[in-house]
C-alpha cells in the first residue's frame, strides 16, 4: 500500500545516488517539482530515463545530478534544443553525460517489457537506421514461427519512477487522465515509485479516459499542487508556454543557468 508523505521525505527515502530514475510525462503531467527536489537533495551519478527529456531534465543535467541519459527525444517542445543537455554532451559540462539513445517506439516497448516482468520486448523498429549501429541495447531477434527478423530491446526497470497525477485518494489510489503517456508502464516497471498529485481527495469518482494506479502498485504519494508546472495538469491548469520559451535564453548560458538554479531551486 502506498504511503502518503511529503515530496521531500519521499525523495530522501526513495532516491539514492547512482540510481536509475525515470521522471515520466508526455508533455502533460511532467513531475517538475519532484525534479527540483532531486536537485535540492544533491543526488549524483543518476541514470536518468525518459522518452522526452525536456526542460526539467535539462535542469537536472545542468545541476550535475546525472551521469547518463536514456531517452528518445530530448528537446524543448515547440521551442528548440536543450542547451544544458547539449553542453553536457558536447563539452562534458558540468560533468560528462553518457547517452543511450532509442526511438519512442523502442523506449515505450522497453517500459512495457519492464512492466510485464519480461527481460525484453520485440518490435518492428530501427531498421536501416544508424541508431541500431550506435546503441548496444538494440539487437536482432528471429521469429521462431516465420523466421522473420525483428528487433529486440531490453526491459527498463528503473530503481525509481516518479510521475505526477491529478488526484489520489487517502488510501493512495492514484488517478490521472487526459494524455496519460507511458506513466502506467513506467510506474509498474520500477522497483519503487513516487507519485506527486494535485490533490488528495476522499473519493476518486470515475472519469472518462482515466488511468487508475491501485495503491498497492505505488510506493509513495505526495500532494504537490502545481507540481507539473510549467507543463500542465488537465483539468487543473494550462501549459505555461511562456516559461518554455523563456527557458531557451536561460539555458544557453552557464552563468544564467547557475543564477536560475540558485534563485529558483535553492532560493
Amino acid at each position: 500500500m502506498a504511503t502518503l508523505t511529503t515530496l521531500a521525505d519521499a525523495v530522501a527515502d526513495l532516491v539514492r545516488d547512482g540510481d536509475q530514475v525515470a521522471l515520466e510525462g508526455f508533455t502533460h503531467l511532467i513531475p517538475v517539482a519532484a525534479g527540483h527536489e532531486i536537485i535540492r537533495s544533491g543526488r549524483r551519478d543518476l541514470t536518468l530515463v525518459r522518452m522526452t527529456p525536456d526542460i526539467v531534465y535539462d535542469q537536472l543535467v545542468g545541476a550535475g545530478c546525472a551521469r547518463k541519459l536514456i531517452f528518445s527525444w530530448g528537446g524543448n517542445p515547440g521551442v528548440g534544443s536543450l542547451h544544458r543537455f547539449r553542453d553536457a554532451v558536447q563539452h562534458g559540462w558540468p560533468v560528462p553525460l553518457e547517452i543511450e539513445e532509442h526511438s519512442h517506439a523502442g523506449m515505450a516497448n522497453r517500459y512495457v517489457a519492464g512492466a510485464s516482468g519480461l527481460p525484453f520486448a520485440v518490435l518492428r523498429g530501427y531498421t536501416g537506421t544508424d541508431l541500431a549501429r550506435v546503441t548496444e541495447t538494440i539487437k536482432p531477434i528471429t521469429c521462431p514461427f516465420t523466421g522473420e527478423q525483428l528487433t529486440a530491446v531490453p526491459a527498463l526497470n528503473p530503481d525509481v519512477t516518479i510521475v505526477h497525477a491529478q488526484r489520489a485518494d487517502r488510501a493512495g489510489n492514484v488517478q490521472l487522465w487526459g494524455i496519460t503517456g507511458v506513466q502506467k508502464e513506467a510506474v509498474l516497471a520500477a522497483k519503487r515509485s513516487i507519485v506527486t498529485v494535485e490533490e488528495v481527495v476522499d473519493e476518486l469518482d470515475p472519469r472518462p479516459g482515466a488511468v487508475v494506479l491501485p495503491t498497492w502498485a505505488v510506493t509513495a504519494v505526495a500532494e504537490v499542487p502545481r507540481g507539473a508546472h510549467p507543463s500542465y495538469a488537465h483539468g487543473y491548469y494550462e501549459r505555461d508556454n511562456e516559461y518554455y520559451r523563456s527557458w531557451d535564453a536561460i539555458s544557453r548560458d552557464r552563468g544564467a543557468f547557475d543564477a536560475w538554479l540558485k534563485e529558483s531551486v535553492f532560493g
Binding site: 534544443s81 518490435l123 494524455i179 507511458v182 479516459g209 501549459r239 508556454n241
Partner: protein
C-alpha cells in the same frame, strides 16, 4: 491572391497533399500546421494521429507540442503511448506519416540526431529520433515538409535517424520495410519526389515565383529536375485566411 510568404506557400502545398478521409500520423511543427490546415479546408475527414496517443484529434487551435490538452479534448480516442506505436502505427494502418527534418538527403533519409563530428563527439547535438524512425518505416507513405537550404539538403545525411530510400530504390524492400517511404518532399521552394527508377529526390514542382536555379542553389547535391516540371497553383485566399487564423490563435 494577397502576397504570401514562402513558408505559407509551403504549408498550403503540404496541406493539399493530404487526401480527405485518410489517416495521418502528424509530427509537430510544420507538419502539424499543414495537417490542421487541410482539415479546415479540403479534408474535413482527415484523421490526425499524434504520438501522444490522440487518435482523430480535431484541435481548434494549433498545438505547440504533440501533447497539448486540446488534442486529448477533441480526439475520438486517447490511448497510451505504447498503444499508439504498437497497435496503430506498427501494423501499417496509417496512410501518411508527416515528418519534418533537420537534414534530408538525396534519397530521402532523415537526420534529427547529430550534425558534424562523430556520434559520440558531435558538433551539434539535435533532439533525436522521437517517433520518426517507425513512422518512416510503417506508414503507407511518408511526406516530409522542410525548408530548403544547402545546410538541410545534403548529399548524404550525417546520421540516418529515419530511413528513406537508403542509397536507392529496392533497399526498403530488401530490408522488409512495409511502407513506401518518402513519396513527397514539400519545401518552401517547390516539391520533390523520388525518381521512379532510382529513388533520388527530383524536383517535380516549383512554387509561384521560384525558378529552378533558386532550388538548385538551395540543394546540396546536383539536383535533377523532372521533364514534366509543374508549377504549384498559388494559395487561394481561403487557404491563406484559414492558415493565418490558425497561426494567430496559436
Amino acid at each position: 491572391m494577397s502576397t504570401c510568404t514562402a513558408d505559407e506557400t509551403m504549408t498550403v502545398a503540404a496541406s493539399r497533399a493530404l487526401r480527405d478521409g485518410t489517416s495521418c500520423f502528424v509530427g509537430i511543427g510544420l507538419p502539424s500546421t499543414a495537417a490542421n490546415l487541410a482539415r479546415r479546408t479540403h479534408a474535413p475527414d482527415l484523421v490526425l494521429i499524434y504520438e501522444s496517443g490522440t487518435l482523430g484529434a480535431k484541435p481548434d487551435r494549433l498545438p505547440l507540442s504533440i501533447g497539448d490538452g486540446v488534442l486529448a479534448e477533441t480526439a475520438d480516442a486517447v490511448v497510451g503511448v505504447p498503444e499508439v506505436f504498437n497497435y496503430w502505427l506498427q501494423p501499417g494502418r496509417v496512410d501518411v506519416g508527416f515528418l519534418g527534418a533537420a537534414q534530408l538527403d538525396r534519397f530521402g533519409n532523415i537526420n534529427t540526431t547529430v550534425i558534424g563530428g562523430d556520434y559520440h563527439h558531435p558538433e551539434v547535438r539535435l533532439p533525436g529520433a522521437g517517433g520518426a524512425p517507425e513512422i518512416a518505416a510503417s506508414c503507407r507513405e511518408v511526406f516530409v515538409v522542410v525548408r530548403q537550404s544547402t545546410r538541410a539538403f545534403v548529399d548524404r545525411v550525417d546520421f540516418v535517424t529515419s530511413f528513406g530510400h537508403g542509397r536507392g530504390r529496392g533497399e526498403r524492400e530488401a530490408l522488409g520495410l512495409p511502407g513506401a517511404g518518402p513519396t513527397l518532399v514539400i519545401t518552401d521552394l517547390g516539391v520533390l519526389r523520388p525518381d521512379p527508377e532510382t529513388g533520388e529526390l527530383t524536383l517535380t514542382e516549383l512554387h509561384p515565383g521560384v525558378e529552378v536555379d533558386d532550388v538548385r542553389a538551395a540543394t546540396g547535391w546536383e539536383l535533377r529536375v523532372s521533364p514534366d516540371l509543374d508549377r504549384t497553383p498559388e494559395p487561394t485566399q481561403q487557404e491563406l485566411t484559414v492558415l493565418r487564423a490558425l497561426e494567430e490563435a496559436r
